[in-house]
């Protein structure tokens, strides 16, 4: 007897249809799975056999062959377990083959017949919906993850015998997934970031972060140890605009594939904030491995990637950031497959001004030689510096600052201004792929950042008197555009240019 059951496979965050074919024929009892499965799929044999037996069902004592078609694509993961089991049961006549139809089965089986959660469900559902499939049976544990896709029929199942029963007697109906509302869920679960009002002093750094949030600019904070760089960075997601549902879905897709999704929410509600340690391997950061998994930079998609102590990261890793910073995605090519993951994030980096950390500090003496400082700073190559729009210096906070009772501005107030500036930008870039000032290309920069005579004079004088390097030019224009947006001005005014120049510390020559 032959049975065909549909399932889905994943390549990166794109799904493709997999047909699970099972043929039961007379012969010595055996069970083979063909179709380029990985170890997890080879082991599915044991899980499926035990699950069927322990569910009180008859496991056919015959020669069983299972094929995962298309047979030339390498398949990974445990979510084929359920479809293999269903295929065997229908091939052996326990489930009525006709009633299965176009339903897609996803789920991992445990030895006692329970259906366990799977990773990567959301991207599969989205891909399958696009390809016109409407009926799904998924593990109960993945209920919420499945609940954000409308117009499809998803049923959840807890165990194999529940599934078999639902086919046998019409009284038993599997639980259907109700669509949840993203906005409502977000309202009910307010996210808690560190609030900017807890950061005392650091006015210039806060202002720079506000600009970074408003324009999507990457930012580098330079300061001695203990000056609050990390704390400032942790406050940053709180002033970013809320994610739209589409953005949230994209983020959730990546986290789902990586198995990092909180299943009780089923969707990522707040912008990701990823802080990989500098000892992490470059594979774990950019993605890859034998099963090409998304790395930290993809998990930071639509959110923030915070690299603390930037020069401590391997040079190799810092350089791999170049493509994602430019294109907003990372393509990982391996011999067997090539996967593209989205990786559009705001980079926040922090570093000390020199190896001992005290260069320019008024409290401690810097003991580094100029050559050491030069070597330290030269770890950051020009191309990377080119992609960071804002560099600011963060100085130590004084005791008085810490004990002041003066209320600082809260994140919510800053966020309001950021939201306003973002709105202006969305309006400006309507119909293009760009959605923030930071991502403007050369022609757009020319178009939207035209300067009046007065502004040009300031910029020229700044270049002459403050020894700015040439690469600062476009960065200053983009940042000035964002500052003007925050100000609600259509034109870039002299004060906007002047402020933007303040955020180019590393271009200054005193840094030697």
């Amino acid at each position: 007897m032959l049975a065909k059951v549909l399932s889905f496979g994943l390549n990166g965050i794109d799904g493709y249809k997999v047909t699970v074919e099972v043929d039961i024929s007379a012969g010595l009892p055996k069970f083979d799975i063909v179709g380029l499965g990985d170890t997890a799929i080879k082991e599915a044999k044991e899980r499926v056999r035990s699950a069927i037996r322990n569910s009180g069902l008859k496991y056919p004592v015959s020669s069983i062959t299972c094929n995962l078609a298309p047979a030339d694509i390498k398949k990974e993961g445990t979510f084929y377990d359920l479809s293999i089991a269903v295929a065997i049961l229908s091939a052996s006549g326990i489930i009525d083959y006709k009633r299965i139809g176009e339903t897609i089965f996803l789920g991992e089986l445990s030895l006692n017949g329970e259906v366990k959660k799977v990773t990567g469900l959301l991207p599969i559902l989205i891909a399958a919906k696009e390809k016109g499939y409407k009926h799904f049976i998924v593990p109960k544990e993945n209920y919420f993850e499945a609940s954000f896709i409308s117009d499809i029929d998803v049923k959840v199942v807890k165990s194999l015998d529940e599934l078999v029963d639902s086919y046998k007697c019409p009284d038993i109906i599997l639980e259907k997934v109700m669509t949840s509302n993203y906005e409502a869920l977000k309202q009910s679960k307010p996210t808690s970031y560190l609030d900017m009002k807890n950061v005392k002093g650091q006015f210039s750094a806060k202002r720079a972060l506000e600009i970074a949030a408003a324009g999507g600019h990457n930012i580098l904070m330079i300061g001695p140890p203990g000056s609050g760089k990390t704390m400032l960075a942790k406050c940053f997601p709180g002033i970013l605009p809320d994610m739209t549902f589409e953005e949230a879905l994209e983020v959730t897709k990546i986290h789902s594939v990586a198995g990092e999704l909180n299943l009780s929410d089923g969707i990522i509600l707040s912008r990701p904030f990823r802080t990989p340690h500098h000892t992490a391997t470059s594979i774990s950061l950019v993605g890859g491995g034998s099963q090409v998994k998304p790395g930290e930079i993809s998990l930071a998609h639509n959110g923030v990637l915070f690299l603390d102590e930037l020069p401590e990261y391997s040079r190799h890793f810092i350089e791999t950031l170049r493509q994602p910073l430019e294109d907003g995605q990372i393509t990982i090519a391996r011999a067997k497959q090539t996967v593209t993951y989205p990786a559009s994030f705001i980079l926040i980096a922090s570093m000390n001004p020199c190896p001992c950390g005290n260069f320019g500090s008024k409290k401690e003496e810097c003991r580094c030689t100029p050559a050491q400082i030069h070597r330290y700073l030269s770890k950051l190559s020009g191309p990377i510096m080119d992609r960071i729009d804002l560099h600011i210096e963060v100085d130590n906070v004084t005791y008085d600052d810490l004990h002041t009772n003066e209320e600082c501005e809260s994140s919510i107030d800053i966020k309001k201004r950021v939201d306003k500036a973002r709105k202006i930008q969305l309006e400006r870039f309507k119909g293009t792929k760009v959605y923030s000032n930071a991502k403007m290309d050369v022609t757009q920069t020319k178009k939207y950042c035209s300067l009046s005579k007065q502004c040009q004079d300031i910029l020229r004088m700044a270049f002459d008197n403050l020894h700015l390097t040439a690469r600062a030019h476009d960065r200053i224009l983009k940042v000035a555009r964002t500052i003007a947006d925050l100000d609600g001005q259509a034109e870039i005014l002299p004060q906007h240019i002047a402020e933007a120049i303040q955020y180019r510390s590393l271009d200054r020559k005193y840094w030697e």
Binding site: G201, Q202, F203, S204, K206, R207, G223, P224, P353, F359, G360, S361, K362, E365, C366, C368, T369, P370, A371, H374, I392, E393, V394, D395, V397, D401, I458, M461, A462, N465, L466, I483, D487, Q495, A498, E499, I501, Q502, R508, Y510, W511
Partner: protein
């Protein structure tokens, strides 16, 4: 052609013979007979050099003065020895006067009115300012600035002198082929063209940790006075001060903040009476009976906010936060003002987000 006398000194410098030993040998044979004595294995020199004698003799047999002469001519390197007429009298008064000096550039500068400016290799902003200010005024009043082509104060002193179209002498702790530090190579080139590079070391000599204190004695020996702008407690510039005191020339020191470890050395030498305290370049000029040139003060026009910032910064350098708190100006406006004031040259930005007038 290199004279026989000069050959002796050149050979000794190539062998890195110490000043003391060189003078003892030359005193015994006189400089024109020394090389012959080495070749012939005279008893005094064999005994004097001991184990090293064979090395010296072998080296001397292979030594080609023609090749060296070609090299010196190609690279425009000159030299003069302790027997030369142009050798400055004051240098001879040192305990260990260098027996040979190689130079590139305008050698006549050694007979001009020289003042040494030395100090920390990693000066604070204050040290930089002071060095620049003093060097500028001294150059404008006709002094040649002598320093050691090191980083920090040395570099600033040389650069300021060149920027003001003045004269400067750099005394090196290395041979001309092995410039140190490498970051100052461009500066060295410029000094070679517009000033004078001077070293007692053979061109292939590589800088050692002892060669820097040694060159300090030459810096003192060439100068009419030594100015220390900023020095930590154990700064190398204090060596220069000691040599200057031995020579009996003026030592000036600029006082610094007593809480700053970077000023400990320069403050100490004032405290112990080793140096004369100077607070303006005019103090030095007066010492040499020079009437300072008058400098016109520029009037600065400031708007309301800028005036507030200016008044706050009058008390000394301040961080961004301090300025913001004391003036109460909005952060974005303050950023704007600070940039425009920087562009106009009214204030300066310092590392660590600090600002100063």
């Amino acid at each position: 052609m290199i004279s026989q006398n000069d050959k002796t000194y050149i050979f000794f410098s190539a062998m890195e013979l110490t000043v003391k030993r060189c003078h003892e040998i030359v005193e015994h044979y006189k400089s024109d007979k020394t090389l012959d004595a080495i070749l012939n294995g005279d008893k005094f020199i064999v005994d004097y050099l001991g184990e090293d004698y064979d090395k010296f003799r072998q080296k001397l047999i292979n030594f080609s003065f023609e090749t060296l002469e070609k090299y010196l001519n190609n690279k425009h390197v000159g030299y003069f020895t302790i027997e030369s007429e142009i050798y400055p009298e004051q240098l001879k008064q040192l305990d260990e006067p260098p027996y040979i000096l190689y130079y590139i550039g305008d050698v006549s500068l050694i007979s001009t009115k020289c003042l040494a400016i030395v100090g920390s290799r990693t000066p604070t902003y204050y040290g930089r300012e002071v060095t620049e200010n003093f060097a500028r005024q001294l150059v404008k009043n006709g002094f040649t600035i002598v320093s050691g082509l090191s980083t920090g104060v040395d570099k600033i002193a040389h650069e300021t002198a060149l920027n003001e179209c003045g004269k400067t002498i750099a005394v090196l702790g290395n041979g001309f082929q092995n410039m140190y530090p490498k970051s100052n190579i461009n500066l060295a080139r410029e000094i070679a063209q517009k000033g004078l590079l001077l070293t007692e070391y053979y061109p292939t000599f590589q800088a050692r940790n002892y060669s820097f204190p040694m060159r300090n004695r030459i810096i003192a020996g060439l100068s009419n006075g030594v100015l220390i702008t900023e020095a930590a407690k154990k700064s190398g510039s204090l060596h220069t001060k000691n040599f200057a005191l031995d020579l009996g020339i003026d030592v000036f020191s600029v006082p610094g903040n007593i809480t700053s470890p970077k000023s400990e050395g320069s403050n100490n030498i004032i405290k112990y009476g080793h140096a004369q305290m100077v607070t303006t370049p005019n103090d030095i000029l007066e010492q040499y009976g020079i009437k300072p040139q008058k400098v016109e003060k520029q009037k600065i026009e400031l708007n309301f906010d800028e005036n507030k910032i200016y008044n706050v910064l009058k008390d000394g350098e301040k961080s961004f936060d301090e300025i913001q708190c004391q003036t109460g100006i909005l952060v974005q406006t303050l950023n704007t003002c600070l940039t425009t004031m920087q562009i106009r040259g009214i204030i300066k930005k310092l590392p660590g987000n600090y600002y100063a007038i």
